[in-house]
């Protein structure tokens, strides 16, 4: 080794060491949150805004507040491509990162969620599958480590039926009506079916289930059946390209778009792009606001983008799925804050964050403090109820943007909760789980 190489190696070592020392010191006071993202692949149009929403919220908390009660958030992205196998690999890679390991995990895929559920109690990493994943996980007595608040697919389906009833003039007016459920032919797509079937029997509407095979690029046969059936309302549980094609096909057969309601994974900005003005009138369920007019967005522009609104828009600010990422990140951060109220202002372990999630109480006043007044609904989680059965709201595409067109619609807890408890009990029996007492 000549002198020049030796000098370069020496300088490199000094630089590496000098970089390591402060990083290590800082890392000891960081709260690590893994980010399972899908910025590439066929589902990237949905994955990018969600990931940007998470990233911007964590950055906002760090830049504006100096972290959670002084503990900076450290986050690392891992690309899943919405692929279950890759998602599990990402989880395994990141679960021990940071001084206390992963605080919680947001899988952002029902498939990944199902794979992580058995691991959560072993690794002591709570799962927050906000509005997706296994609906029965709402029963906290059986699913101690899984949380799916503010609401689930089953609750959403019940709220959709209530919305239809509101539009038709009452629940008694549902009798004889025809409702079609156009759904992705997967476990996710079929989630709403049992609830819709139960409500069909209860209220006397005729339900038709129309499955669309993955990926849903070609749906002509489905929409021919819709044309023949002439349903009064259509509910859609779609994903990815299936949504975009379905909206175009519905417009092509001249179906009344304001009687076509997607679930909350069928109502993003990307879903209405191909149909453009033909999608005007299309509706979807959601549990948070659309657009960038809320206080939280102003703060993100100021603290994350240094006032550069154009740059923020480039990063999906205000898009439906971006806003979902914000809400999801906020719930996670507030759960960590709740845990700190008991365990002290230091990085929390997964076990402590699980306690925080279970004791989370995000009130209207707290939402206002967070710049999210009117953006989403308050949530109070409990030992037995990991869902909270929160209401939904209907948004409508006017050809240019999404607007809220309903009040918050309560779900039908009396129908859904017994179904959840029954399914959770079956799961507990199959997996030899002794449900814990929540009294």
């Amino acid at each position: 080794m000549n002198i020049k190489k030796l000098a370069v190696a020496g300088l490199g070592a000094v630089a590496a060491l000098s970089g390591l020392v402060p990083t290590e010191a800082l890392a000891q006071n960081e709260q690590f949150i893994p980010m399972l993202v899908y910025r590439t692949g066929p589902y990237a149009p949905s994955g990018i805004p969600v990931a940007n929403g998470f990233r911007d919220y964590y950055t906002l908390v760090n830049n504006r507040d100096g972290g959670i009660n002084g503990v900076k958030i450290a986050f690392e992205e891992c690309e899943t491509q919405y692929n279950t196998k890759l998602g599990v690999e990402c989880y395994e890679k990141l679960k021990n990162s940071g001084p206390t390991g992963a605080s919680l995990v947001n899988p952002y895929s029902t498939g990944i969620t199902y794979q992580l559920i058995p691991k959560a109690s072993v690794d002591k990493v709570p799962i927050l599958s906000m509005g997706y994943g296994q609906t029965a996980a709402a029963d906290g007595r059986v699913f101690e480590w899984v949380f799916n608040f503010p609401t689930t697919y089953w609750s959403q389906a019940s709220a959709f039926v209530r919305y239809v009833a509101q539009q038709e003039g009452g629940l008694d007016k549902l009798k004889g009506k025809k409702i079609a459920h156009v759904h992705h032919n997967s476990a996710y797509g079929k989630e709403a079916n049992p609830t819709l079937e139960a409500l069909s029997k209860k209220y006397g509407f005729k339900l038709t289930l129309l499955a669309v095979d993955h990926p849903g690029q070609e749906q002509k046969a489905t929409w021919l059946q819709v044309r023949r059936l002439r349903p009064d309302w259509i509910f859609m549980s779609g994903w990815g390209v299936m949504n975009q094609v379905a909206i175009k096909e519905a417009a092509a057969i001249q179906f009344k778009m304001d009687h076509f309601v997607g679930n909350w994974w069928s109502g993003s900005d990307a879903d209405v792009v191909p149909a453009a003005s033909a999608a005007a009138g299309y509706k979807s369920a959601t549990f948070h606001g659309a657009g960038d007019q809320y206080q939280i967005h102003k703060e993100i522009i100021k603290y994350v983008y240094n006032g550069n609104y154009a740059k923020a828009k480039e990063n999906n600010l205000g898009e439906v799925l971006y806003n979902r990422g914000l809400v999801n990140a906020m719930f996670g951060v507030e759960a960590i804050r709740t845990a700190m109220s008991k365990y002290g202002n230091k990085p929390m372990t997964g076990e402590q964050v699980r306690w925080g999630l279970e004791n989370l109480n995000v009130t209207d006043a707290r939402l206002a403090e967070l710049g999210m007044k009117g953006f989403t609904r308050p949530v109070q989680v409990s030992c037995a109820d990991h869902e909270t059965g929160g209401p939904i709201i209907i948004q409508q595409w006017n050809g240019k943007e999404w607007n809220m067109v309903s009040d918050w619609i309560p779900t039908m807890r009396d129908v859904v909760r017994p179904m959840i408890e029954r399914t959770a009990a079956e799961y507990a029996k199959e997996n030899n789980i002794q449900p814990r007492s929540c009294t």
Binding site: Q217, A221, V241, A252
Partner: protein, 311 residues
């Protein structure tokens, strides 16, 4: 007995009692079939020239559509964007010939097939890098209004797509059978070395074929991208072309068309009349079942060249 009636009698009665609706299902199947044929054609072209199944054809559809819509988003007029995209596809064909095919001359077909898998991954990543991952609206001015013809509701976009597909096929048929390049291409498909020995320029033929396959991919990309928006799942449309190829034969342009029509009509009729009996969503796998049934009787496909092995 009730099940037998539901499977073997009721669907036929249904077709008989509602002929207008059946006509709508049938015609929609035909129009969709043409769209499948458009994708299948690209596979046929490459297979004819090199005996290789081009795994990257679906991604070429995506890449062409992404390039077109990307140029249009940058303010390039539609007509110019179309020309520029066609040029990009020709340049791509030249690069593929230089970098991928030339070093693999006379290699086993499976080696070339593996190379096309690599090409598919490269093109997907390259397209994403340049044009991003968002869904893009593609509007080249093809009308989309629904039209009613004797009680049958059709989408004018589908009719246009079928017409454009038909013109493309007619053009390709003339190209293959009436031009010297077409004849040379068929000679290359039969035997690389024999074609070289009689002075057929293999490299030029490959460039021409990959260029034509690229332009066919562009047309397919416009049609499918117009329906669903241009996005990465567009490459998955290749899976819809596979049963068409199995049925029509990998080496026949008319086979791709007839195969597409049979698959299109078959899957629509099956989905609408038999699908509800088993929960629906049968059209994807039914297309493969249909193709496999044909394979039992004609392993080379409807129009494929007869397989003769000397022992």
């Amino acid at each position: 007995m009730e099940t037998l009636h539901a499977v073997f009698v009721a669907p036929w009665l249904d077709m008989w009692e509602a002929p207008v609706f059946f006509a709508e299902v049938f015609v929609s199947g035909l129009l969709t079939g043409v769209m499948y044929s458009l994708v299948a054609l690209g596979f046929v072209l490459i297979f004819k020239a090199s005996g290789t199944f081009n795994f990257a054809q679906g991604v070429m559809v995506l890449f062409a559509a992404l390039t077109l819509v990307g140029l249009m988003e940058k303010g390039v007029p539609v007509w110019l964007a179309l020309i520029l995209t066609a040029v990009v596809m020709v340049v791509l064909a030249i690069v593929i010939e230089r970098v991928m095919l030339r070093p693999l001359v006379n290699q086993e077909h499976i080696i070339l097939f593996m190379a096309t898998i690599g090409l598919a991954f490269f093109l997907e990543g390259f397209g994403e890098l340049i044009w991003g991952s968002n869904v893009k609206r593609l509007d080249v001015g093809i009308p989309e209004e629904p039209v009613m013809i004797k009680g049958v509701l059709l989408n004018s976009f589908d009719i246009w797509a079928a017409a454009i597909g038909a013109i493309l096929v007619a053009g390709l048929a003339v190209f293959f059978h009436k031009t010297p390049i077409g004849r040379a291409l068929r000679a290359v498909a039969d035997d690389h070395q024999a074609a070289l020995s009689v002075g057929i320029p293999l490299k030029t033929i490959w460039i021409i074929v990959w260029s034509v396959a690229g332009i066919v991919a562009l047309v397919a990309g416009i049609m499918w991208g117009g329906k669903s928006g241009v996005q990465f799942s567009l490459s998955l449309i290749a899976f819809k072309a596979l049963p068409v190829l199995i049925l029509g034969g990998f080496t026949s342009v008319p086979g791709a068309i007839v195969g597409g029509l049979i698959i299109g009509v078959g899957e629509k009729v099956a989905e609408v009349y038999w699908g509800p009996l088993i929960g629906g969503a049968i059209e994807n796998w039914f297309a493969y079942v249909l193709a496999l049934v044909f394979l039992l009787f004609r392993p080379q496909g409807l129009f494929g060249e007869r397989i003769i092995e000397r022992v």
